[in-house]
Symmetry: C2
Subunit: 488 residues, 2 copies
């Protein structure tokens, strides 16, 4: 057979190699120069339109495609690598993480299963995470997209523990399960209940105390009420670092309560769990070592590029009972490429799985947990400085305590003004100014300006720039000056 | 405040930049030199042991970490980029995909939401996919890890369509849903039923015809039986490219049946859907344009690096009804960084989401669907050549038709031999030889050697090398020669 050569490899590598090196240099320049640019900027209409082309049937020169990336994508990204980004809870990324992604992209490993080094790298990352949090070395786990998925896995593990593996075959039937978390739990927890078929009403949201921590007495009462009402309590979820204000539940007390009540104890430590890297913060997490499962994200405080979530599971048998399948085309063997059982696809929901472990492995190796812990401690110091500055500004008021790295505050408004709308407009103004990027939340019915200090590049000066920007924008609006964007 | 500088950026960029360029050159060399190395090789015990160190508390020189990657990881990866890899269904990756991962890693965008260019890139990829498959331009969708997740989303969408959005609040209760797929459906489909709380018994596995396609008459009978039995049929899943032999259901007939029965019509096109890029293969997919949702993977036949799955959804309202949440800390706004609603987190299960769209966007732009279609058509031609070679070898027998790119066969064995074990040992021998990497499956109770031609680098000569290797290994075993591994 005279065969055409359809390979997507180039005929010669010189041009592609040169372009790759140019890309790499550009991205180094981009990261090194972040601080000089805007945190975020809105996309001009022409750029938006240019990203709406027809399906490309013929190929194009990669250099031209790259130029479009440079013109249309690079300047208009999320903004989270910038030190002025404080919206939501985003990590900043590092050049080390970028290089790991380069290597992983070239290696193109699929970590669903089989016997190869990338799987061992992931197992090592899981073992390190267990060690960091004080779970047994025999724990298992996986890297996933993020805590949305990791918390779903936690709910599924608890579901199996409560109903037995037959739930996989027969479904929920009429089982009336009840799980527990505080009202401060992240929205991905009720979503996990929805996906799992339990419905979010099966998640009992227990009130918090003034510090934003779950009220353990109220929790015990709710469990008793549910048992009396014929429900089957099965799961307690503790939060380490609440999304709104960064509060951490009393995990030791939750662990004891879960054990006494024979409930699965899961911790959503999406960003808070890695505070274990900082010795001064580790006591906040006391009790996490007793968890049956923990969800956390390396793309937040560990600064690993998106996405890199993690589920840690104390008992490997629980993960296998929930996910292992016996499939003709995925039979592990004693040797050869099909060795290495159990495979990750037997302890989690994915079969196709990229090598996101590499960027975590390289990040932890290159920086070590002590330096990451120093970053985390510094973020909290910046947050405290920001809170102090807010407290010192008569035009501002703080709306929540600052137990970790999140500061919620607002600009005061004259009587008769819609203070929520005023603050929402200030936040959009500040974002559009490119100087800082806070987000918003609602606390006690009031809209808050929320600054989450997660980025390793963020300094006290950046927090001050946020406050300056809020004050200046607020003053302009109070003076009736047209909005910045109206003048654009 | 005299502030320490905790940033993870280097003090100077020179060394890191130089190391990055070395990594890039090494990875180009690795990809360009793939063919000269083994497809896969087992890890020596020392290398395994070296990947089991303690949690790194202090950081290390990145160059040293990279040397470990070079020594311990790079030589012992999955093998799928190699032209001799035919196990399971893995794409080969490209240097273009690697460079896209470099750029995405440096950009570090989170595509859970907000208003930024990476989200528009993803929307464009989804629009292109809809265009390719003939779904309306108004379709929505997302990139996900892979078809395991995409099929789960399809099941969840169908569940909402059947029970209404209240299922998210109240759970399944006693609803007795029934879904339908063929016995050839991938294992991630029953897993999706398990995760969704329906239980895998709620998935009715309908027999296939001799070509491995769902028996539509049997399907209609099963639906009627279930309705008569008080079940609520809600979902028909068609397969485009079955995992064992590459069969594609009659999607047009399934679409008509689903419409007549008012069932959600989902297509699992994990690898088969992209056959739409090849004009000669497109007719196999007729009817896919009528699907309510389609799952597919770009990391398979589109050669995008892992992971890059996709869910395409005809009606955006269905996705919003299943996933949209209203959360205080994730309020979209009319302008600013929090603009751009609806956000991806409102149409899928993840909140933290990496920029996997970039590698798909760059791949489709740089190669175009025609060239990818040529790769796909060539894979099928290689499979046909492999089948012909198998048919011509007296020692081999083919075990299934070859409608697409998968060839299942086995080595004949003398009477009294355990032919399954004999073939399983041959497969492990061949894998360990480094010359080729087939996998196995079970067809009609018989273990088959399975070669899936998915890699753009695989030529007829590689398929011949697989057959040669199977024949030589088989002959050695028949002659009673000690196993290759026993001599190692």
């Amino acid at each position: 057979m005279s065969e055409p050569e359809p390979s997507l490899d180039p005929d010669g590598w010189t041009d592609l190699r040169a372009l790759g090196h140019r890309m790499l240099d550009d991205m180094f320049d981009h990261i090194a120069g972040l601080r000089a640019g805007p945190v975020w900027q809105p996309m001009p209409a022409e750029a938006r339109a240019a990203l709406q082309g027809e399906l490309p049937r013929a190929g194009e020169d990669l250099a031209a495609v790259y130029e479009e990336f440079r013109a249309l994508v690079l300047p208009y990204a999320t903004g989270n690598p910038h030190p002025g980004f404080m919206g939501w809870v985003h990590g900043g990324g590092t050049a080390v993480g970028m290089l790991a992604e380069l290597l992983a992209g070239g290696l193109n490993a699929n970590l669903g299963g089989r016997d190869h080094a990338p799987i061992l790298v992931e197992r090592q990352v899981i073992a390190w995470t267990a060690s960091l949090l004080g779970l047994p070395a025999s724990s298992t786990g996986l890297l996933l997209t993020g805590s949305s998925m990791a918390n779903l896995v936690g709910v599924l593990l608890a579901r199996t523990a409560a109903l037995g593996p037959e739930v996989r075959r027969h479904g929920l039937g009429g089982a009336r399960l009840a799980g527990y978390a505080s009202t401060a739990a992240h929205g991905c927890i009720p979503r996990a209940f929805e996906i799992a078929g339990l419905g979010r009403d099966a998640l009992r949201l227990v009130p918090t105390d003034a510090a934003g921590r779950i009220d353990c007495a109220a929790l015990a009462e709710q469990i008793a009420r549910d048992r009396a009402g014929g429900m089957l309590p099965f799961l307690v979820i503790g939060t380490a670092g609440s999304v709104d204000i960064g509060a951490t539940d009393d995990l030791a007390r939750l662990a004891a309560l879960a054990q006494a009540q024979r409930l699965w104890f899961h911790v959503d430590g999406a960003f808070g769990a890695l505070a274990a890297c900082a010795p001064a913060l580790r006591p906040l997490l006391d009790g996490i070592e007793a968890a049956d499962s923990v969800a956390l994200d390396f793309h937040k405080w560990a600064q690993v590029p998106y996405d890199a979530g993690c589920i840690l599971v104390r008992e490997p048998a629980a993960a296998l009972a929930t996910f292992a399948q016996s499939l003709a085309y995925l039979q592990p063997s004693a040797r050869g490429l099909a060795g290495g059982a159990p495979w990750p696809c037997d302890i989690g929901p994915d079969l196709s799985r990229g090598f996101r472990a590499l960027k975590v492995w390289m990040t932890l190796r290159a920086y070590g947990t002590e330096r990451i812990g120093a970053v985390i401690a510094h973020c909290c110091a910046v947050a405290r400085a920001l809170a102090a500055r807010v407290d010192a500004e008569p035009a501002l008021e703080r709306l929540a305590p600052v137990p970790l790295n999140i500061v919620c505050f607002r600009h005061r408004a004259p009587d008769g003004w819609d203070v929520d709308r005023f603050n929402a407009e200030i936040v959009a103004d500040v974002q559009e100014s490119g100087r800082a990027a806070p987000s918003t939340t609602i606390l006690g019915g009031q809209l808050a300006i929320r600054a989450a200090i997660v980025n390793h590049r963020t300094r006290v000066a950046d927090a001050d720039a946020l406050v300056d920007s809020v004050l200046e924008t607020g003053a302009l609006r109070l003076a009736g000056t047209p909005l910045a964007r109206d003048r654009m």
